[in-house]
């Protein structure tokens, strides 16, 4: 079975090592805001929810791109060809999970799974991020997360909306 990225919020401690290492590798600086994944912290309830790109089989971002700057590679990973990106932002609006954003130059950026060896997973000290074929429980968890779609709002609003659903369920 093909490996996928899984997020298990029950294990997440909210430390943000994943977002730090992601931006360090992709941008060469320490800047969690430029991480290709994000951590939503709910300190009062003692809970944190990672937001990850699911590399959706039917990817809204890819379908929305008018210049085919977004494309899928042979491993099924959705990538950005920066040379073709016109900064229109259609992909940002289209992603219902808030996982595509525009950088300072207006170019779209998103998770590329580090070419099949994601740095965030190696950095996670709590097994909250996993890259593996996945057991039935993880696959169910991922499916439940993928059901939490938000149509409108900023990427941050969309991530937060899903995270709140996960948190409320866990801390009921």
């Amino acid at each position: 079975m093909k490996k996928q990225l899984f997020a298990n919020p029950d294990n997440c401690t909210g430390c943000n090592r994943c977002t730090l290492v992601c931006a360090a590798i992709k941008e060469g600086v320490f800047q969690p805001d430029k991480g290709r994944l994000k951590i939503n912290n709910f300190p009062l309830r003692g809970y944190s929810v990672p937001s990850i790109c699911f590399q959706c089989p039917k990817a809204n971002c890819l379908e929305a791109c008018p210049t085919a700057a977004l494309y899928r590679d042979s491993d099924g990973v959705v990538l950005v060809n920066q040379d073709l990106c016109t900064s229109c932002g259609a992909c940002v609006s289209a992603c219902t999970y808030g996982m595509v954003e525009l950088d300072g130059n207006g170019t779209a950026f998103k998770c590329d799974l580090c070419g099949g060896d994601p740095a965030c997973v190696k950095e996670c000290p709590a097994d909250a991020l996993l890259f593996e074929p996945g057991d039935p429980e993880l696959i169910r968890l991922r499916a439940a997360q993928m059901k939490c779609r938000t149509i409108s709002g900023s990427p941050n609003d969309k991530r937060r909306a899903m995270a709140e659903i996960m948190m409320k369920k866990a801390r009921a």
């Binding site: 090592r17 060469g28 320490f30 003692g46």
Partner: protein, 593 residues
């Protein structure tokens, strides 16, 4: 610029003006960051005689050079000012993520001066700082205040420093909270904000921190993380967190029980690490920390990140509240209303002993949960006679009713949860800390012979100097194997310029001596380097150190030895040679002759 941002935010509340100035790079070499750098800025900004709660006092908040990077346990934020609780200079530091957020927003630190005419909060959003009205936030607890501040800045990812009603009421052991359960806990940080009419700070930063060589830096960080941090000496923090100390200190006979009457709690299993594990819902981490020592617990409907060891002991064993749910409720009330759980717990245990020995009836009894929980609100809101009494803290409360023989504080700061009669090193550490009884300057509880004064003096001095630089680097206490070689290596590769361990060792000693000079100038003398009467006169009951005191005579021997090892004169004044050696001869120079 590498590691540092290079900019300080200056807030003058009296004129409601906000400005910036370049970071003093001439000071970063000698003081590095966080504690040391804040101390240097502070000594430049005020006279040591300053009244802590006056508009003339200044608050300096400072990040460390490694904060906001992947270096684990290095993102703590320091606050330096003069304490309204002790009248000493003091440093308090906080975990969580406010420090990194401040750097991402474009500032290494904040200097807060003056007093606002009406309640305000400081809003910092990526290089733009403004003062806004906080009228609608007044009277609200910390949890709600943080939520409202996040809404004000329009981002749930913002980080806050906020005060509650206890600090608005200028209670001198009130604190500043962040991310619900993290605090600048000790010394009355909250009252400092309160006295300035500053309800809180909300910060959102999306910027970047650079290092000289990212590839090399990441390689070193991984090396130290895997081969030094995540090893047996430190992993207790990941598995158990601070509650592991309940068993450790009980075994040593230094676990304060019944207002420091006993060194052993026969019902410790109600509050130990196993009890916490049984109530645990998950592990919680500060920014960039792989340890996640915070244990999020729930008993019935009461949930909290914690309680930590000091609270389990000082608000648990020491009040004979051997009931985890009650201690969680105590902790949560303190965290929301804005009281330091250590000083609050210790003051309540004192009031319990005063009640039970007939000194004064506060209707507070050991082991009695209802009144113990009720009185917290009364303290924070000053709403009853006993609330107003206890809000003074242990020293003034004891003085008011002639119960000095029962109160456990040094220089007015209530003692942490390690009994000095069973470990003289803790006594030496408490007597000599710049902020009064404190366990975060030296922590010699694992020493081979806890009664060997000479060896302990050396151990305490070395630890104080080492922590001087460790807190100035923004490191957390719980990287127990951290040393100046590692610190120098990380700084060198991050900054891209050579930093030596010897320089850092010297900086640690410089910071300790500068704090001492400030306190001497503020009016403290060798006579204040002392311990509570109870420690010196009343034998400890129960446990491995039963029957022990730390006598006046032994303490005098220890202090003589301590001053000698420090290069101070018999009155505890740093010698001229020492001051020149540390480059402090031009600082506060008119203070001592």
């Amino acid at each position: 610029m590498n590691l540092y941002v290079g900019k300080m935010l200056i807030v003058d509340l009296a004129t409601t003006s906000v400005s910036t100035e370049p970071l003093r790079l001439d000071w970063t070499k000698d003081y590095r960051g966080a504690w040391g750098l804040a101390l240097r800025y502070y000594c430049d900004a005020v006279k040591p005689e300053v009244d802590p709660l006056s508009s003339e006092n200044v608050i300096v908040i400072m990040t460390g050079p490694l904060g906001g990077t992947l270096v684990p346990l290095a993102s703590r934020l320091c606050l330096v000012s003069k304490s309204p609780h002790t009248g000493t200079i003091f440093e308090s530091n906080i975990g969580g993520a406010f420090g990194p957020e401040l750097k991402y927003a474009g500032y290494d630190g904040i200097i807060i001066k003056g007093r606002a005419a009406a309640p305000v909060f400081l809003k910092i959003a990526d290089g733009c700082a403004t003062l806004e009205s906080a009228e609608l936030l007044i009277g609200r607890g910390i949890f709600e205040t943080e939520k409202l501040l996040e809404a004000e800045i329009g981002s749930p990812d913002a980080k806050c420093l906020a005060i509650g009603p206890a600090a608005e009421n200028l209670i001198t052991f009130s604190m500043i909270g962040s991310e619900s359960y993290r605090q600048f806990g000790r010394g009355g940080t909250g009252a400092l904000f309160g006295s300035k009419n500053l309800k809180g700070i909300v910060c959102r930063g999306t910027g970047a921190i650079s290092v000289a060589d990212m590839g090399g830096f990441l390689e070193r960080v991984n090396h130290y993380k895997n081969n030094d941090l995540m090893t047996e000496d430190n992993l207790w923090a990941k598995t158990d967190g601070t509650p592991i100390l309940v068993e450790v200190t009980n075994e040593m006979g230094i676990h304060p029980t019944k207002n420091y009457t006993r060194g052993f709690n026969g019902r410790k299993e109600k509050l130990n690490s196993e009890a916490i594990q049984a109530a645990k819902l998950g592990d919680r981490a500060c920014f960039a920390c792989p340890m996640a020592c915070g244990k999020f617990t729930r008993v019935n409907s009461a949930e909290i990140e914690g309680p930590e060891y000091e609270t389990l002991c000082l608000a648990g064993s020491n009040c004979e509240i051997n009931d985890l749910e009650a201690v969680i409720r105590f902790n949560r009330l303190c965290d929301d209303l804005g009281l330091d759980t250590m000083s609050c717990g210790s003051t309540i245990s004192l009031a319990m002993e005063m009640t039970e020995t007939g000194r004064h009836d506060f209707n507070l009894h050991f082991g009695q949960v209802d009144e113990y929980l009720k009185v917290i609100y009364e303290i924070a809101t000053l709403s009853t006679d006993r609330g107003r009494d206890l809000a003074m803290g242990a020293k003034k409360l004891a003085a008011k009713y002639g119960a000095e023989d029962l109160s456990m504080e040094v220089k007015g700061l209530e003692m942490p949860a390690y009994e000095p009669r069973g470990n003289y090193g803790m006594g030496i550490a408490y007597a000599t800390s710049e902020r009064g009884a404190c366990h975060l300057r030296a922590f010699p509880i694992f020493t081979p012979d806890p009664f060997n004064i000479d060896a302990l003096v050396t151990e305490v001095v070395n630890a104080q100097n080492a922590n001087g630089i460790k807190w100035s680097m923004g490191f957390c206490d719980f990287w127990g194997t951290m040393n100046s070689e590692t610190e120098a290596d990380l700084l060198t590769i991050g900054l891209g310029e050579e930093v030596t361990a010897a320089e850092l060792d010297r900086a640690g000693e410089r910071i300790w001596n500068l704090s001492r000079l400030f306190n001497l100038r503020a009016g403290f003398t060798a006579a204040d380097d002392t311990l509570p009467k109870k420690v010196m006169e009343r034998p400890l009951e129960e446990g491995a150190a039963a029957g022990r005191v730390f006598s006046r005579e032994d303490l005098a021997v220890a202090m003589d030895s301590y001053y000698r090892v420090r290069g101070w004169d018999e009155q505890g004044v740093p010698s001229q040679e020492k001051r020149i050696e540390l480059g402090l001869d031009q600082l506060l120079k008119e203070d001592l002759s």
